[in-house]
């Protein structure tokens, strides 16, 4: 399967994940929060990691996979340093998020769900993120960008690159 456990600091990350699992009051109801933690530590949720979570929580792997494949926030693919989450909720859609999406797509040269060759950016459409007042909304890692227009896209990409020192 994946090489997730061969990565740098994998053991360290697993220790952090185990410690987080220990803090959960019930194992069965902890699936979503543990997956969030796992994704924040490893960046994505390859099958090996899902299986690890399933066995730790003593729930079927199929159930964990069902959750991961249901929520678009969870990714099974390795992502770039910046995940550009494009909100496709109704409000954002009405306000023209499709233009923002295609602008990101053009400037980065990737389609939705793909990652740039330099490993910097992943483009990801998501369901409503609940910030409709700011529509159209783009969320990059933890940072929310409101009222985004197609012409803002270039600057947003530049900001990210600067942040990385590229």
């Amino acid at each position: 399967m994946s090489e997730v456990f061969e990565f740098d600091k994998a053991t360290e990350k697993l220790k952090l994940l185990d410690a987080f699992i220990e803090t959960q009051p019930t194992k069965e109801e902890a699936v979503i929060s543990v997956l969030h933690k796992a994704q924040s530590l490893f960046g994505y949720l390859p099958p090996d990691l899902q299986l690890y979570v399933a066995r730790k929580l003593d729930v079927p792997a199929a159930k964990v996979y069902g959750v991961v494949s249901f929520y678009s926030f969870f990714s099974e693919e390795k992502r770039g340093d910046f995940t550009i989450n494009i909100c496709m909720g109704t409000a954002c859609f009405v306000k023209g998020i499709d233009k923002v999406m295609s602008e990101f797509s053009n400037q980065l040269g990737i389609k939705n769900k793909e990652t740039t060759a330099d490993g910097l950016f992943t483009l990801n459409d998501v369901r409503c993120i609940g910030a409709c007042g700011l529509a159209p909304v783009v969320m990059i890692n933890d940072k929310v960008y409101g009222h985004v227009k197609a012409e803002d896209v270039g600057q947003i990409i530049m900001d990210c690159k600067e942040q990385k020192g590229v």
């Binding site: 899902q50 299986l51 399933a54 199929a62 159930k63 996979y65 069902g66 494949s69 249901f70």
Partner: protein, 578 residues
């Protein structure tokens, strides 16, 4: 009690009654699809996902699903309004709009609940066209085929797999239009810890889950003049196959079944019951040995291949507790390829052993690498009760009209003890009948151990055998088995011997039996028939079978002998859980 009104009729129903249940009190038949209730087994699927049973409730803006909506005091329900009927038809049309239209060649043609529903609702036109699912078909295993394109998300298979069997192989995957039921990570079924019990197949309303059909191989063998084709039939088949020929559930058709197999031109027709008698000889000996020599107790039966695969995946640390006996079908296959071949001066390579089983796991069992001898599988082809029924129809055999005939000799005679292998509790009762006489050296006058019978998921009884109390546990359904296994692992088990069957009801409720379509009475009738068949036998203890005595005298030596171990026993392999 609650006072409610359905379609103008006032009735009283107990608290906790669903609208669907209440409607049956006034002779209404609200159509359903995802709903399933096998209440004696405690199996209920109430996902309310298909939206086919929608009804109108006064004062409620939206229609409600009658299968899951509970009655409340003063509730006024209409099941027959235009709005409700249109909603149901729309639900079915939408399901059909994303369903392959290959009914004529589908494995479930005329056995499909969706097809039956479309007919019941008089759907003659589908007003919606759009994208259709296009997933690859999973035919990775020897046991079953999974076609996600025919999945209607009723969740019945998930209920069976996760709640009843606690295997956890199947889950809803993806979201929205792309959703279907499948294993983790899009794995092939063969790469999961699926036991192939086939209970998902038994309850699937469509052909999203069906058995792997092996009838083609049987036809080829029968038409190959160089092959000596031997068939064996499991106990549970004879009380169920009649259902495929409009006979009442629970009709005993043993004699007709033999005649039918003869009509298909098998070279020899043997009875898996003989294999069951042989199993008792070996298993009872093993049990007595363990009891008298301080061996590992409880001993668990090992006839059920789904159960065997279950404990290999789920309890790999407890592989020393099941009996090492092969299952009756494999034992008989082994005797056919050795003892029978020798007697008949046949080269085992020229023999094809076909098993007719109520089971899908038997297909996977026969393919297990360790269950082959000298490069020849002990059993070559396994077909289900349903597949045999289909073969008989293709051959134009009038099953119901056939005369009775007897199994061929040598491996065809059986006792009542082996017949009851077909139901939960039967294997252990058969073992007790023999163990009793062997331990006490007395004749057992009353062979019916009614305390071991029934349909409760977990049962226990103590049987007095001489001066010892034999503590017996019985579980059917793998979820119930898991509870017993957990007790053993935790060291709180109080049993000496435990029988486990993977399917609810035992083999009579197997995944290869004629579809019960959610009717629990069918399984009960089959069970009654099994005990009736036992009652009608002259010999009812395995060790009294004269041909069993002969096979030990001439070939095997004694039970648990070196040769018996070589040919009739096996070992288990720890497996991963995924």
């Amino acid at each position: 009690m609650l006072n409610i009104t359905i379609n103008g009729k006032s009735i009283q129903v107990p608290k906790g009654t669903t609208i669907l249940q209440a409607s049956r009190e006034v002779n209404l038949k609200i159509p359903t699809l995802c709903h399933m209730n096998l209440k004696e087994f405690g199996i209920i699927n109430q996902s309310a996902s298909c939206r086919v049973c929608m009804v109108e409730v006064e004062g409620r803006a939206a229609l409600v699903p009658s299968c899951s909506e509970l009655c409340t005091e003063g509730m006024v329900i209409r099941t027959d309004t235009k709005r409700a009927i249109i909603a149901r038809r729309t639900a079915v049309e939408l399901l059909l709009s994303n369903h392959p239209f290959d009914c004529l060649t589908c494995a479930k043609n005329l056995e499909c609940d969706l097809q039956a529903l479309a007919q019941e609702l008089g759907i003659r036109e589908i007003h919606y066209t759009g994208e259709k699912m296009n997933y690859p078909i999973d035919d990775s295993s020897y046991a079953l085929i999974k076609d996600p394109n025919k999945c209607i998300m009723c969740r019945r298979c998930e209920t069976m797999c996760n709640e009843v069997q606690t295997c956890g192989i199947l889950s809803a995957v993806n979201r929205g239009f792309d959703v279907f039921v499948g294993p983790a990570f899009h794995l092939d079924m063969v790469d999961t810890s699926c036991t192939f019990c086939g209970q998902c197949v038994a309850v699937c309303p469509t052909a999203a889950l069906t058995e792997m059909n092996h009838t083609g191989k049987v036809w080829s063998a029968l038409n190959n003049p160089k092959k000596h084709v031997v068939v064996q039939v499991a106990p549970a088949v004879r009380v169920a196959i009649g259902e495929m020929f409009d006979m009442d559930p629970g009709t005993i058709t043993t004699g007709k079944l033999v005649s039918a197999l003869r009509a298909l031109d098998f070279d020899a027709i043997f009875d898996t019951d003989f294999g069951a008698d042989l199993t008792i000889m070996e298993e009872a000996t093993e049990l007595i040995h363990r009891i008298q020599n301080g061996g590992r107790l409880p001993m668990l039966t090992s006839c059920c291949p789904a159960w065997v695969k279950f404990f290999e995946h789920q309890f790999p640390d407890l592989l020393d507790i099941p009996s090492t006996c092969k299952s009756p079908q494999i034992m008989l296959g082994s005797m056919i390829k050795t003892y029978y071949a020798q007697k008949m001066k046949l080269d085992p390579k020229d023999i094809v052993v076909v098993s007719v089983m109520p089971c899908l796991a038997k297909k996977a069992e026969a393919a297990r690498p360790e269950l082959t001898k000298d490069q020849n599988s002990d059993v070559d082809i396994v077909i289900t009760t349903r597949e045999l029924g289909q073969m008989l129809k293709i051959a134009g055999i009038d099953f119901a009209g056939l005369p009775n005939s007897d199994f061929d000799q040598l491996l065809g005679q059986s006792t009542g003890a082996s017949v009851i292998f077909g139901t939960t509790g039967g294997v252990i009762e058969a073992a007790v009948r023999t163990a009793y006489e062997w331990i006490t050296n007395e004749t057992l006058e009353k062979v019916d151990f009614v305390q071991l019978r029934g349909l409760e998921g977990i049962r226990s009884a103590t049987v007095k055998v001489g001066d010892m109390n034999l503590r017996i546990g019985i579980a059917h359904g793998l979820g119930n088995a898991r509870k017993l296994l957990n007790d053993i692992r935790d060291g709180i088990s109080q049993f000496d011997a435990i029988e486990i069957m993977a399917c609810p009801g035992g083999c009579i409720g197997g995944g290869g039996q004629p579809y019960h379509h959610g009717d629990m009475d069918i399984i009960k009738q089959r069970q009654l028939a099994i005990y009736q068949e036992d009652q009608g036998k002259v010999l009812r203890k395995s060790h009294e079978n004269p041909y069993i005595k002969q096979i030990y005298d001439e070939f095997l030596g004694e039970p648990n002998s070196h040769k018996a171990h070589d040919l009739l026993h096996t070992h288990y392999i720890p497996k991963e859980r995924i």
